[in-house]
Each structure stands twice: as C-alpha cells, then as structure tokens.
C-alpha cells in the first residue's frame, strides 16, 4: 500500500479563492467540520486576485443591504435577470439566474463587512451603475479576514494539489492529492466535497491565474459527473507586447471611454483597420459594457481571421492620431484612477508611464490579442449546487448554468453567491450521510505516482505547450470547422502520448509532476470543448464560427453535455427551460445582430 496521510472531515472544499472561502464560511455556520485543500494559498489564489474592475448588484439591494442611499433603483433585479437570460443566448438556467440575483447581494454584504473590518480594503461605489470598483488585492484582503473571523476552525491545507476525487458506491466521499513542497500524498475522507477550483483556460494568451487548468471539471468527470457548455470560452483584449507585461487585461480597460481617455484605432499588423461599425446599435451603453467583450471578439475577429495564418492572435491599438504628450497625459489620467489600489502610476506590476513610452517608441501602437478570461462551461449543478454524483458539490467558475454561452454577470458576485449555497448544501448533506471509506484510493494514488516511476517518457510541459499551440490555432476566439478538426485530431494524438508521462527528479517540488496533473485535466476539458464546438454548427455567444455565422435557435438552442462512462466520453444534449422568461425562437444572421436585437434591444435602422 502506498503511504499517505489521512484527514477526516465532514465537508472538504477544494480551492482557495472566493467561492471556496464563502463556502467554508457557510458550511461552518451550519456546524460542519470543514477542511480546505488549496493548490496555492487561501485567499491568495485563483482568479479573484487578478480582478481588474469590480462588481455590481441591483439598486434595491445596494440600498437596503449595503445602505447606499444614492443607488440607482432603475437597476432592478428584473432588468438584470432579463440581461442574464438574453446574454446567455438562452442556454442559462433561469432558476440559477434568479437565485444568483438573490444570493449575490447577500454574499457581497458579507464581503463588504469583512472589507470594513479589515480596514484597508478600498471599494469605491458608483451609484449610477450600482457598481463597486475594486482590485484583486482589496478583495483578497476582505476574504482573508472573513476566513479568519467567520470560519473559525476550518482546517486549511495550503500548497496541496488535489488530483482526484474518491468514491464509494457511486458517491463522492473524499479526495486524494499531494503536498507540492514535499510530494507527500494526502487523502481526505469527507461526507461531501465542494469543488471550487475555477475554470479552464488552455491558451498561451490568457489573463488568469496558472491554476486554471480545469482540475475540478476533469476530476468531477472522472468521478462520473456530467458537464456541459464546454465550448464557450470568453476572450477580451489583453497585452501581447511588451513581453514583460504579457497577459495583462489592461487593454480591455482601455476600451472603456469612461475609464481611459484616449480612443485607439484597432488595426491588424499590416496597419489595416479592423472595422467596427459606426452603427449605434452595436455600441453598448456603459452599463452594458460587459457585452462589448463579445462584440469586440466578433468584429475584430472577422478582420483578424482573414490573416490568421500570417499574424495569428495579434493586432494593434493604434494611438497615432495623438501627440506624444497626449499619450503620456492619457496614460497618466488612467493611472490616477487606479493609483489608490496599485500605487502611483502603477497597474499591478505595470508602470503605466513606462508603458506609454513603449507605445510611443512602437510607432504609437500597442500590440494586443484576444486572451482567454473565463470559461462558461463546467460541472452541471442544480440550485443546491449539487453535481450529478451524490456527495459532490461545486461553486464558482468550475460550475455551469448561470451564464450559458456568455458571461454577463460579475465573476466576483458569482463566487460568493455560489459559495454561500454550496457550503450550506454540502453541510446539510454531510449531516444526513455517514462518511464512507473510499474504494479507489489506492488506484488513484498509483495513477498519481506513475510519472515519477517511469524511467523515460514524454515531458508533461512539452505536451502542455503543444496543447496550448493546438488550442491557439484551432480552438481560439474565432473558429471554423477545418481548423477545429485539425486541432481535435492533434489533441487525440497528444492524449495517446500523455499515457506515457515522465517526471524525473523525485517528488519534492517537481514541476513536471505538477504539469502531468494539469495536462491530464486540460486534455479532458479541451477534448470535450472541441468536440462540442465542432458539433455546434452555428455561432452562439462566445462560440464564433467563420463557416457558420448564424445564431440558429431553430436547431441549436440547447447545451452539449458530456460524461465519462467506463472511461469513454458520452455526449448528450440538455434543453433550457423557459421558467420565467421566454426562449427566443428567431434566428439571427450573426452574433452581433443577435446582441443588438435581444440584449441591447436596439432597433435596426
């Protein structure tokens, strides 16, 4: 038997970001014994720390729960609900969307209290949009305080990678993993498990934490759970160059006229403008700016895709209509807005005046690309955040259902809204069910250690880089059948090679072992995502196809689902229900027209 430490608890939470911490607080308040296994540090991991904008809730809740007397009451739950439904391109679960609007403000109230108690977390309220501007740093300090004060007694296992769920009689009853620093195996026995591990971002250009390797989604699938909507991945403009700042979402903030004072011209690398129509119906108001992510993907993507083989995912924000001084002043004005969170002239690690000078030196152009920000697909859950396998719960980006084909709500609100419910549900399940002894712990331990025991084989980081290249080329923000098929075939070849991973150098902080774990999870997520994307012969939300531009509600208003049965992927369909808001039956010529007609409600001229 392979030696491993055993930890027993009622509820095991995997993850250490917003959803995990709010779930821990919630489960503890129900009296459950709680353990958290965090790949990095609690409250200093996941995508929460990468936040560049803020969060919003409805006006009535802002006034009643957060005491913001000047909150815009026209910003109602009903209007937000309709926005969620239409932005999901009708694939969102309307019950989950209604629940999100009720639970989100309650979760944010807790976070604001923690921020106030922590004393050093500036959240700036903008009444017109009912929006709080904040930063990842401010949010993590609040969550860290909440974990300390409101989740007393939670056992936290940091720098611990969970590699598989453990099961007994078809129910989830724990998890196995290892401590990154020592390589020692650790096995958790729990009555219920909550996965709060985030999404999957399999591209070389992304603005997210390195944790986003689909760990929870893939582990849940291996335990028998169903996933859906894996083809929908959200992209925003992020920095390509200068290389030292690559991956920053700063360019997305530059697209907002109320945030960044200079107006760029988007061009391809040959200097040809990437046409974005003047027509007002494609220009969202500030309160609808989230949908601009998708409109930019569509309009910029159309132009970029013509030269994809030549330039790939790179284009310019061209500021050449401005003088050097105007560019410096524009960046300085932007810096003044963010200084309170990031320090004078800084945005995270970017010296904004340094960047302005780099833009000027580069013929007044900033090189950007469409980088992956979020994955809409994930573990299928109900309104208790229970997965389709008993004993398993999930919260945050790892789940699916709230946002369908496009995320219009705030990730920060999603985290806390989901975490509250999942924690309570998992605690209740634990109270009603005996802890079971896992049947598959030894087998999972052997699988985990295999790359260490081989004497030769494939390099996990080598294959992971290949997978990223495949996804960059054929599974990116703009797609067609031919490229996707090529990518899918290449992925299957990598999958075969990944049966022989080799991680030399022992267990202690072995990066190849870490990448072996991540690669296996990413491969499974990408296989499902690519297969679903190939099958969806239309465009919808973040699935933009050159060869099938139409939003085809007549034939494709459903989600693709997937699960593993005896090790083989089985695909299916799941149809949305019009619980409170009607589904759309009209087809639209393309995603932009669909957005204009149904989300922005702009009449065609």
């Amino acid at each position: 038997m392979i030696q491993r430490e055993v930890v027993e608890t009622d509820v095991l939470i995997v993850g250490g970001s917003g959803a995990a911490i709010t779930a821990a607080v919630s489960a503890r308040s129900e009296g459950a014994r709680v353990a958290m296994a965090v790949k990095g540090k609690a409250a200093n991991s996941g995508n929460m720390i990468m936040v560049g904008g803020g969060l919003s809730i409805d006006g009535e809740s802002a006034k009643q729960l957060l005491h913001k007397e000047d909150a815009n009451l026209a910003y109602t739950k009903r209007s937000l609900f309709e926005k969620l439904v239409t932005s999901s391109f009708w694939l969102g679960d309307q019950e989950m969307q209604r629940q999100f609007l009720e639970e989100g403000p309650l979760g944010i109230r807790d976070v604001m209290r923690w921020a106030d108690e922590a004393g050093n977390s500036p959240f700036q309220f903008k009444p017109q949009a009912c929006r709080w501007l904040t930063s990842g740093g401010a949010f993590k300090r609040a969550l860290k305080h909440g974990l300390r004060t409101d989740a007393d007694g939670v056992e936290v296992f940091e720098d611990t990678v969970i590699t598989d769920l453990l099961t007994s009689g078809g129910a989830v009853c724990g998890a196995i993993g290892y401590r990154v620093y020592t390589g020692e195996l650790i096995e958790f026995h729990a009555a219920s498990v909550i996965l709060a591990t985030g999404g999957y971002q399999p591209f070389s250009l992304k603005c997210t934490n390195s944790d986003m390797t689909g760990d929870g989604i893939a582990m849940a699938m291996r335990a028998g759970a169903e996933v859906k909507d894996m083809e929908f991945l959200l992209f925003i403009p992020i920095l390509q160059e200068p290389t030292r700042f690559r991956g920053s979402l700063l360019p997305f903030l530059m697209t907002m006229a109320n945030v960044f004072p200079l107006a760029f011209v988007p061009t391809d690398l040959d200097g040809q403008e990437l046409a974005y129509p003047e027509d007002a119906r494609y220009h969202p108001a500030p309160e609808d700016m989230k949908v601009s992510k998708l409109l930019m993907s569509y309009f910029y993507g159309k132009g970029m895709y013509q030269k994809w083989d030549k330039h790939g995912n790179r284009f310019y924000f061209d500021f050449s209509k401005y003088s050097d001084q105007e560019i410096l002043d524009g960046f300085a004005a932007f810096a003044a807005r963010y200084g309170k969170w990031h320090g004078k002239n800084m945005y995270h690690h970017i010296d904004l005046l340094d960047l302005a000078r780099a833009v000027i030196a580069n013929k007044k152009r900033l090189m950007v690309g469409m980088g992956n920000e979020y994955s809409m697909g994930g573990i299928k859950v109900d309104t208790a955040f229970a997965a389709t396998v008993p004993g398993l719960y999930a919260a945050g980006e790892v789940t699916v259902g709230l946002f369908g084909a496009f995320r219009s709500g705030d990730g920060l609100v999603e985290m806390v809204a989901n975490g509250r419910v999942a924690g309570k549900s998992a605690a209740h399940y634990a109270a009603a069910h005996e802890r079971r002894m896992p049947e598959d712990a030894e087998q999972r331990a052997r699988e985990l250690l295999q790359p260490l025991e081989r004497t030769e084989g494939e390099s996990p980081i080598g294959l992971r880089c290949e997978l990223e290249r495949i996804c960059d080329e054929g599974f990116n923000f703009y797609r067609d059948g031919s490229r996707m098929q090529t990518a899918y075939d290449a992925l299957l070849r990598i999958k075969e090679r990944a049966e022989h991973l080799y991680a030399p150098g022992g267990r202690c902080y072995n990066l190849e072992l870490l990448n072996a774990v991540s690669l296996r999870n990413l491969l499974l997520c990408c296989e499902v995502g690519l297969f679903s994307a190939l099958s969806r012969k239309e465009s919808r939300g973040c699935h933009l196809r050159e060869d099938y531009p139409m939003v085809d509600n007549e034939n494709f208003c459903f989600s693709y689902t997937a699960k593993l049965v005896d090790g083989a992927l089985v695909y299916g369909k799941s149809f949305p229900k019009a619980a409170a808001f009607p589904l759309e039956h009209r087809n639209f010529a393309n995603v932009a027209d669909c957005i204009a007609d149904t989300i922005l409600r702009r009449e065609q001229a």
Partner: protein, 96 residues
C-alpha cells in the same frame, strides 16, 4: 545570455537566447524549464504572473525580486539567480 542558477546541490549555468526586447526573470526560467532542463524547480504553481500573488520571489544578483515582474534587459550578459531568504525546498523554491 549566461544564466547561472543555484540548484539544490550545485551552481548550474544555461545559455539563454534573447527572447524578446523586454522579458522577465519568469520568462527566462520558463524558457530553461521548457527547453533546456525539465528538472529545474522555481515557484510556478498557483502563480499569477502579474505581481498580484507575490509568491515568486527569487534573488537576482543577490537582490530579492518577484520573478514575474523583474525585467531582464536584452543586453544582459550574465544573470545569477539564487533562492530568496527562507527554507529552501528545492533549487529556487523557498517555503513562503
């Protein structure tokens, strides 16, 4: 550029090309790990690469910096990377 790294049991040098006009220490470490030596250990799990998590501390020529934020100018000829203060786990990884 000659990059010398304090491994757990020895100093080891690598020849790294200029990867870009501007790059970071993390870019250099990624290049070595991905292309030259799969056994190199440096902080790379749960990493933000945006100076948000503050965990990738390493000494550059004896001065502690965040690997993801510290620029390496293209004209650099030699670079010495050693573990930051703390209990060394392996190579450049310290317990933090």
């Amino acid at each position: 550029m000659k990059v010398t790294i304090q491994r757990s049991d020895r100093l080891q040098s690598y020849e790294v090309p200029v990867l870009a006009e501007s790059m970071t220490v993390m870019n250099v470490l990624d290049y070595i790990y991905q292309n030259l030596d799969h056994t190199l250990a440096y902080y790379r799990h749960s990493s933000c690469c945006q100076a948000a998590c503050g965990r990738c501390v390493v000494n550059v020529d004896g001065v502690p910096v965040l690997a993801c934020a510290k620029e390496v100018p293209p004209e650099t000829v030699e670079l010495l990377l050693t573990p930051a203060r703390g209990r060394v786990i392996r190579d450049l990884v310290v317990e933090r």
